[in-house]
């Protein structure tokens, strides 16, 4: 079990180092996803499958996709299409691919050989997480909600633009 942890940890460190050394934001993101997947594998072998799933769904899934969308929305037009083709050269995805493959191999191996009863550590599943969030840490959850509210209100205020005075059809014509 130890060796699996160390491999996953190594993958996490290598991919994070690659994140901060890449010059291209999209390449960095690919490595960042691998890094998050590696952390999720660590959570899994530590006996927290629910948190591992959350890590994949929330971070590697939702947040990363959001960032990629934001980058793509900012680069529209012919030039960016060409650039996107360049981004998809094997040279760029082969590194993250290999690291992700290592993690996949680890996961398959663990799923085959790993039985919770044989191991001494307790498995913390979704029910346990839910129970503690709604009993011991209920006030903490409320506080986190307040933090999100502060974030949303702040982002709304800072991001709010002055309303244009002219009608939107006129605005379109002006662009033409």
């Amino acid at each position: 079990m130890q060796i699996i942890f160390y491999i996953a940890a190594l993958v996490a460190i290598v991919s994070t180092a690659m994140v901060i050394t890449r010059k291209n934001a999209v390449h960095a993101l690919l490595y960042l996803i691998v890094s998050l997947l590696a952390v999720s594998v660590i959570f899994f072998i530590m006996g927290a499958p629910f948190v591992a799933a959350l890590e994949v769904i929330v971070y590697a899934g939702a947040i990363m996709i959001l960032i990629i969308f934001a980058i793509m929305m900012l680069n529209l037009g012919q030039a960016s299409e060409k650039r996107e083709k360049e981004w998809l050269k094997p040279r760029t995805w082969i590194g993250p691919g290999i690291l992700a493959a290592i993690l996949l191999a680890e996961l398959i191996y663990t799923l085959n050989s790993f039985s919770p009863s044989a191991h001494e550590q307790a498995i913390i599943d979704a029910k346990d997480v839910g129970m503690s969030l709604f009993s011991t840490y209920a006030l903490g959850v409320e506080l986190a909600a307040m933090m999100l509210m502060a974030g949303i209100v702040g982002a709304y205020h800072i991001g709010h633009e002055k309303q244009k005075e002219y009608h939107r059809y006129l605005q379109k014509e002006e662009k033409l």
């Binding site: 011991t136 209920a138 506080l143 933090m147 509210m149 502060a150 702040g154 800072i158």
Partner: protein, 480 residues
Amino acid sequence: MISLTGLNLILPQLIIALAAIIVMLSIAVKRCHRFTNLFTLLSFAAAAISVLYIPRGSFGVSSLFVVDGFGKFFTVLIACAGFVITLMSYHYLNAREKRNEEYYILLLLSSLGALTMVISNHFVSFFLSLEVLSVSLYALIGYLKEEPAGIESGIKYLVLAAVSSSFLLFGIALIYMQTGHLDLSGIAAGLSSSGEFSGVFIAGLAMVIVGIGFKMALVPFHLWTPDIYAGASAPVSAFVATVSKGAVFAFLLRLFYSTGGLENKNVWTVFTIIAVASMLFGNWLALRQQNIKRLLAYSSIGHLGYLMVAFLAITDRGMQAATFYLVVYFTGMLAAFGTVIYMSNKKGEALYIDDYRGLFWKKPWLAAIFTTVMLSLAGIPLTAGFLGKLYLLTAGTEVGIWLLVIVLVVSSGIGLFYYLRVVAVMFAGKNENEASSEPVIGKIFPHGLVLTLLFLLLLWFGVYPSSLLEIIQQIASVIR
């Protein structure tokens, strides 16, 4: 399970949280700056008064919070500071920004973060409170969108606070790894069973010190302070200087006193170095400042250094001295920033010391108040600042931490220079080039009234401190 009986213990926090939600919903219905401001004022007042309805004694609320005399005292202090800042914000915001209502949501939420932090008894609640406080502050600091400096300092604060939070989280993880607990009593128990401090635990504590030191702007972690104070609007600077720092200091007391972290010689030495550096550098860097907000920023670094002297005394007396000094510091800083708000106009704030030239001949009362505030911050007799420093010194000399005491005296001497420089400018001849014909923001009501009240408080605590000290003596022995 959480029971409804426990909820009356956190009544002030609930009031502020509810107020933030109501203000948000009221904006959705109709924007009205006057109503929002009044409602925020009322909720701060209600939060302060509701403390009276909390029974005496020390109660735990769902293992995350502990409500005791110490927590209640700081709750009142923060609610009062929030009240004063709200009162001073109304005309300021009217003059300088069009959409003002969100400001009060953010102000309420950041006060909520501070209010929950002072009763935190658990790293989870501490970290969440800290994030509520910081996330609202990011937006508050950059609130005036027309000001490039405000947005710039907002982003600076965002990046630096995020880095310091990650330090803090890693430190908490290391402490958890060593003791197996996140609640402070559990950490204390885990420590006493193992006896010696292990390397991992010390590393964890060091990282927590980095995170807390950043929030309190102690010297190696102070670089953000002048820029953020100068860039943010004056009411927000006042908030950062008082509420944000005071709440973190309250948790620092709780953390290190209840876990006994200061009993380790190395940790104590690190704090001594931080305190000495804060006192010296804070006062030294303020000497040549022309910008009054930067001057106050450096002066606040120095004041937090003074507070650390009482913190390092580890006695009941030290605790009382620190609490007393914090009240005096809150009053002084609020009044100082209140004067800056008073003197500001539509175009900009009265940032430079020259803006106050000859103030005595134009507005003698305001000049008298500002002089008293500066003298109190400097620690001249008959003002509260003097007695505050006197208590810090007695707390220090009692346990014989001579290095800290001597540095305190020396740096106070250095500090005297720049405080008196401001006073001298106010009494100097009239400003020849009256550049700004804009009227000042300050009005007799509320600014004049609030400033007079804070001025009277500074004199009252300076002449007759026992009224405050009696309360402090009751609460300060509870924490240990």
